[in-house]
Subunit: 246 residues, 2 copies
DNA sequence: GGGGAGAGATGCCGC
DNA sequence: GCGGCATTTCTCCCC
């Protein structure tokens, strides 16, 4: 087994220089903060970012086994042939202890990246699409606003139907579920109450809806519109064409 | 700038052997699937796990800039002094293209880890604690079940109060918000309806609650109990003691 | 900083 | 597979 003693200095120097650190190791992990957790010995990939974020990834799965947020501070100590890696975030009262038995690889360097992800096809895009093409809701629908932060809540799409009845549209980019229905109900009830209206329509716009959610929706007098978010599969065909090249 | 051509073979071999792959690079990223995204050139850390999971991390922040889920397949090609890394998940209809201009470091190997995270202090622990110490809800409370999957929903804690009135307790390990209140309301209404009961009590048990949520809770005749999840800060004191060593 | 809601949410469990 | 829901959710935006 490799001599780990050198990593005490190596990692501490990298952290002082605010480099990004990546290493593979065999370790145990204890976490204490919003919950308590323990992870017995195994091989993991550890990433420490330039902002203090710490990620520990097991060799399978999307989500980190353990992590510390942005702003955490870290110390490294060598003792009894092991590296003791400690992280703390005093503001969040979170603590993590990594006991490292072996380090398989190590790299650290400064990374330069000032780019932000550009993204399309969100719920907001969906609301804007319906604002620009109100007939997708129904003929005669006259939208007033999208993504409005009212004191009654955050309403995706708001307008009048052909009979000038106030109508709240809640958009979901994927499956409509029970909480989407209760969210819609909450908005409709608050607006009825605040404006003293007898009737306010509620419409849930989403590609599909669970049967329980549909029943609840209809029981409460609301309506479902099957609507896909914009561009949802636009590049899928392109992707399929790309398959030729695979 | 380094010659990248060798990485076509190196990475493909590692993927064939189902190794875990980690590298640092300068790249652009396009994603198409549940949404569409583009990330302009910058330095990132890329991880490909043994189950096909792909993560791309920018040098700051907890969450990956882009990712592909478990089960995705990957190919690497060298052309025009660049590495073209493509990922696809046909089941999920998701595609990702990484155009790599430089690779700063690279490592791949098989990682062995069959351990599962043990965790304490979850909502389930909270419900069990209240089941074992029902007086934390109120004197005379008689719990029937925890974490029960009924056809009315997934109810954290269920029981009778001292007057034998059926009582639903919804636990939240952190802040009680509007959706917690609507969730509670949904359970209470469904149980009243299903059992033909005039009155069913609803209690929201959590460490704190937002003012709007409290108002809505009280408007609907439900109650708030300030209750902390078990062990929440137990090791915090231990952590504080550890601070001496920092 | 808290509140409210979306997310390419993820992951778990039950049916 | 879908459904319902917790998550050390995270993140953004607004008050």
């Amino acid at each position: 087994m490799a001599d780990l003693s050198k990593y005490e200095i190596i990692i501490n120097h990298a952290l002082e220089r605010r480099e990004s650190v990546v290493f593979g190791c065999n370790c145990t992990i204890r976490y204490s903060g919003r919950a308590e957790s323990y992870l017995a010995a195994g091989d993991r990939i550890v990433v420490i970012k330039q902002d203090g974020t710490l990620l520990v990834h097991q060799p399978e799965g999307s989500t980190p086994a353990n992590y510390m947020k942005n702003g955490s501070s870290h110390t490294v100590n060598f003792r009894d042939a092991k590296i003791y890696f400690k992280s703390q975030n005093l503001d969040l009262k979170e603590f993590m202890d990594i006991e490292i038995f072996n380090i398989y690889f190590y790299h650290s360097q400064r990374l330069d990246d000032d780019q932000m992800l550009e993204i399309a096809g969100t719920e907001e895009d969906m609301a804007k699409m319906l604002f620009n093409e109100p007939s997708l809701i129904e003929e005669g629908f006259r939208p007033l606003s999208t993504e409005e932060h009212t004191k009654y809540g955050f309403i995706d799409l708001f307008g009048y139907d052909k009979d000038s009845v106030l109508t709240v549209v809640e958009c979901k980019r994927y499956n409509g579920d029970l909480s989407a229905v209760t969210q819609l109900r909450r908005y409709v009830e608050k607006i009825k109450d605040a404006k003293g209206l007898e009737r306010v329509r509620g419409i849930l716009a989403c590609p599909k809806i669970s049967s329980h959610a549909l029943k609840m929706l209809q029981d409460w007098g609301f309506e479902f519109r099957m609507i896909n978010p914009p561009n949802y599969l636009e590049r899928y065909d392109k992707g399929q064409r790309k398959l030729e090249g695979f």
